[in-house]
Amino acid sequence: MNKPISTTCPYCGVGCGISALADESNHRLLIKGDSSHPANFGRLCSKGSALGDTIELKGRLLKPSVYGRETNWAEALDLVADKFLSTIETYGPDSVAIYGSGQLLTEDYYVANKLMKGFIGSGNMDTNSRLCMSSSVAGHKRAFGADTVPGCYEDLEHAELIILIGSNTAWCHPVSFQRIRAAKETNPLLKIVVIDPRRTASCDIADLYLPVASGSDAWLFNGLLHYLSAGCAPRTNPSYIEQHTEGYAEALAAAENADIDQVAAQCRLNKEDLQRFYEWFATTDKVMSLYSQGINQSSSGTDKVNAIINCHLATGKIGKPGSGPFSLTGQPNAMGGREVGGLSHQLAAHMDFSNADDIDRVARFWGSQQIASKPGLAAVDLFNAIYDGKVKAVWIMGTNPVVSLPNADKVKLALQGCEFVVVSDCIANTDTTALGHVLLPAQGWSEKDGTVTNSERRISRQRALFQPAGKAKPDWWIISQVARRMGFEAAFPYQSSAEIFREHAALSGFENNGQRDFDISAFADISVQEYDQLQPTQWPVNQHYPQGRARLFDDGKFYTPSGKAQFIAISPRFPGRLPDKDYPLILNTGRLRDQWHTMTRTAIAAKLNQHKPEPFVEIHPVDAARYDLLADSLASIESAWGSMLARVHVTDSQQPGNVFVPMHWTAQYASHGRMGALVNPFVDPISKQPESKHTPVRIKSYQPVWQGFILSRHELTSISSEYWVKIKGDQFYRYELAADSIPEDCLEWAKETGCNTHDTASSLWQKYQDPAQGNYRAAMLIDNRLESVIFIAKNNQFPQRSWLSSLFVKATLDKSERMALLTGLPPEGTPDTGKIICACFNVGEQTIKTAIQKQGLKTHQDVGRCLKAGTNCGSCVPEIKTLLAS
């Protein structure tokens, strides 16, 4: 083994530092939090901790392929270049597009953006960051004149009031959440307010929870602005408003009707709670507003962002330690993408198409004659244009739009009908690679080398831990190779990521003179060695701030023409489509604790699949009763755009009238789990961000003839049941199944699905049959080693899968285990762990409950001392506390 390599986690925008010990010969990886990294100081969440389990080569895209045939790089690159050139020649530069990802490294992103905007000459470079960050970008730009996150993570320790708005921080940014929890434990005066239509795990530390009506946030913050300024003794900061802002009067006028009664009614909040929140904001000096997709993913997301910023400007709670609006970014390099200009309305380095000088400046810097002069198509419009045949060639990099975009079935149709689809990815089989004409193997996280920027503007290195898998190449290399083949050799001479980073840094400082917030010109001449040793640094990094800068706007200066921050007059709007009699419920979507995006990597790690193994829909008990939905039954959810099937979770954490589904499942892991198919394609007119948190839907019970599950040591080869979900476990695959007709011979049916792949003479099926009840179970063992277990029943009464799942790691089963197999229950004396609560230490619900009872545990710390549960990433602490309370 070598010495540990410092790198950065590839998941959320917290941007945790990782210390990785790579064993190249065995392709194994030991992961630890980097205790020196300022984003996490050694902490990691369940996903980050499991990175070592996601690096297997099985399932990787290892070779280029064209039209389903594996080939070499030269042929694949030639074809991409030729097709793009010929398409451009015939239909013009706007007939091609690149759709990138916040998973790309800054260097990859820079080269892709430079190719499309600088040399192909189209604005058609957009990215999946459009789906999560663009409303923040637009809000920042309107208020500050630049896409600037003012504060930093350290502010969490200074704050006296932290407001989480539309953010399940506990699950989506677990390490930041733990930091807030720790801050609260250190400083009991720190108050936490959670604003969310959904009572999430983040409410665990909340002093006040406001179950705001879906989509009503702008009213809430207009109301706050109104409250702050109302009465004879306003709690605004008049001198700050006067010296550093513009537009206050207009913003206030727009909020003039937002008195507390109105807002309480509009947001469906308890007036006393609302008053308490407003009063806390008014009377607390250091206030942070942390917001995320609940704000951004809205057809009025930009206005919501500005409604929040307005309140910080009105009180001067910005640019000082412990204060300010803070956008929690979703992806590891959403910020890096914004910095290079990866969104279609951006040009490069925080310059955009709205300024002719910027266009000219970038053109000169790049030495380009054909630079794009107008914004390109944003994600939803881009795929509509593909659908309409206006964009004829598209190159998708490191993202899975067939799953993640709204109205995703249309996206699928669009790509099916597209003349030329190129997909760069590290995974072979995704819903999107399935539609690619050319597949290009990109390096995976453990092989890539470059930089990423996290939510607090901190640039960190991602470093290669292993040799590339198969023929995989860095994205910047792939793009550069295509660019050269398209005739742009001179502009894409790159041999290393350091070289690209230098150019990116140089552009950020080019004719900047303090005009633009994003300036890392101090890195413009960085040596390869310095680049390799680059320490995590917050931009700007220039001659004034050679070591970076923790907070912007501490000097009261903004990047607007006047140098003053702008209030935006907000007229709150309803979501694009409201519930009606056909679609009476509001569908909310979001992330789970242990999965990342479209599961291409996290679903490889068995331990991450235990927390929430199956697509589900959360629904309030009142609605469940209204629509005849039993807990743990299946439901069909339909919108005007599409449908999905999900397991019913009845919970009062949902408001009546609202349902929630996780965003992660794809056609690779579930037959009907793609929530994107339902999501309405409304976008914010300014940011073009889709309204993924609010789609009118209807729900009804799906009653298959039977349900069941198969646990199999080997992947099944063909599944014929109507409903299936595939879940990778430790040395087995789990399939949750449901179907509309019962097989004549269940064993034969199971064999046909692939359970018999390893059937040999020495294997004999153990069987249980209760035909009158439609109850069928079977198990296959080879030399007492468990190979497959099948449970099928009409009544949907099944044991938990935990004990059966645990048997696959055993070399042989003993007699009592063998005899207990088809009960699904452990033999007497064997503890059943129950469903996994703590993914880090693999601790189950039953284990925790038993320990609480038998050992009289009182606090989650007690549980941690006893079982270690909750002591690593801590994101299961809310669930442990729920168990303690029950």
Binding site: L764, W765, Q766, K767, Y768, Q769, D770, P771, A772, Q773, N775, L781, Q797, K815, R818, M819, A820, L822, T823, L825, P827, E828
Partner: protein, 411 residues
């Protein structure tokens, strides 16, 4: 005949077997001094456990092991025992209430208990009187079988029922080459269903026992000394044979009762108190017919003994009810169990569990949420529990999903 204990009533028991003696034991415990008891038996022993004869044959037990009550026991309890072939009762005088033995011994009774048991059915084929053709009923038979096994090679057992298979297994263990002739496709066809019967046959075959299934016996052929030498089947095939065991069932010994004018059909007909048509005469065991049924297994006999003793002791409250009887095969290492209606019909449902890898098969038959039958092979741990559920008519709907996995899971 006068007795010193003249105040006592006199009970005479015909038959020194398990049913009769169990009744006496029950009676002694319920009313120790009520009767002056006299027992007639045509075997020259005390009382022994006939169902353990298989174990004696197979060598798992000795004769001493299976003795229940030796002669001293009779002395200790003041019971007059007349044992031996010359003490076989030959007549009952119901008018004078006496019984007479072959040797002329006469005993008077106030109450008479007939427990004459049953005798083996002898196949009506030519040669059935040859030497070396025996049944498997008592110690004498076992002694013969043991003697043959040490001097002869070929044994043929007629009947693949419980007794036949136990005999076959015992003889095989004693070193004989054994063939079982059975008139059905399935062994124990009244106690097992097809899967269990097939598993049993396979397991016995593994032990070296050969089977002629669905076969019909044509004739037994003897040598010059009128000793059996071969068995001829109706398909023309022939088996060498030195010892032939008839194990095709039993029939009640009721000749004595009939002769005394007691009402008999297939057995001595008794009511629910085990009383015959003569109020002073009771009958228990394999010689009786109760509500149309005759008996061949031990469990109901013990139940009859209890009820009968209850009435003899004038408590007079118990009633005998024929319950489904569980089957067990006394062959070491083979576990099988069945009870009730384990085949089922159109109105019944079944739950099946099979694990051929370890030779386990279980089938439960359910009607209207009650267990009505069970057959278990390979794992009989829960047989007793299923019998309980069946007898108590327990509603099993709540345990159904785990029922077949036994009490540890479902109980």
């Amino acid at each position: 005949m006068l007795n010193s204990k003249t105040k006592q009533q006199r009970l005479v028991v015909i038959g020194n077997g398990m049913a009769g003696m169990r009744t006496v034991e029950e009676l002694l415990s319920a009313a120790p001094d009520q009767y002056d008891i006299t027992v007639f038996g045509d075997e020259p022993y005390g009382n022994y456990n006939r169902i353990m004869l298989s174990a004696v044959l197979s060598g798992d037990k000795t004769i001493e092991d299976i003795v229940i009550n030796d002669r001293q026991w009779y002395v200790d309890h003041g019971i007059t025992l007349h044992a031996g072939s010359d003490k076989a009762v030959v007549g009952i005088d119901r008018i004078n209430r006496t019984v007479t033995a072959k040797d002329g011994t006469v005993a008077s009774y106030d109450r008479l208990l007939i427990a004459t048991g049953s005798q083996a059915v002898i196949a009506e084929v030519p040669g059935n009187e040859l030497e070396g053709v025996i049944s498997f009923r008592d110690i004498i038979d076992v002694d013969k079988m043991l003697a043959y096994s040490s001097s002869h090679k070929h044994a043929v057992v007629l009947g693949g029922g419980l007794l036949g298979l136990e005999a076959a297994n015992g003889l095989a263990l004693r070193g004989m080459e054994v063939t079982v002739i059975h008139n059905n496709e399935l062994l124990l066809n009244r106690q097992l269903d097809k899967p269990a019967a097939k598993m049993l046959q396979a397991e016995l075959e593994q032990r070296g026992i050969k089977f002629k299934m669905a076969a019909k016996l044509e004739a037994l052929r003897g040598n010059d000394q009128d000793h059996i030498k071969a068995v001829q089947l109706s398909d023309g095939s022939e088996l060498a044979c030195d010892l032939f065991i008839m194990a095709i069932g039993v029939r009640p010994n009721m000749a004595l009762a009939q002769q005394a004018g007691l009402y008999c059909e297939r057995g001595i007909v008794v009511n629910d108190t085990l009383q015959s048509y003569d109020p002073s005469i009771y009958a228990v065991g394999e010689c009786i017919q109760h509500r149309g049924a005759t008996f061949g297994l031990v469990a109901p006999l013990f139940e009859q003994a209890k009820v009968c003793a209850n009435h003899l002791s004038a408590h007079g409250v118990a009633e005998y009810i024929t319950l489904p009887t569980a089957t067990k095969l006394k062959v070491t290492g083979i576990k099988l169990f069945s009870v009730g209606d384990f085949i089922g019909d159109d109105s019944s449902e079944s739950i099946r569990f099979t694990d051929p890898g370890v030779g386990i098969y279980k089938k439960l038959v359910i009607k209207a949420n009650q267990l009505v039958g069970a057959v278990l092979y390979g794992d009989t741990t829960d047989g007793v529990w299923y019998q309980e559920l069946l007898e108590k008519k327990t509603d099993i709907s709540g345990l159904r999903d785990l029922l077949v996995f036994g009490k540890a899971y479902a109980g």
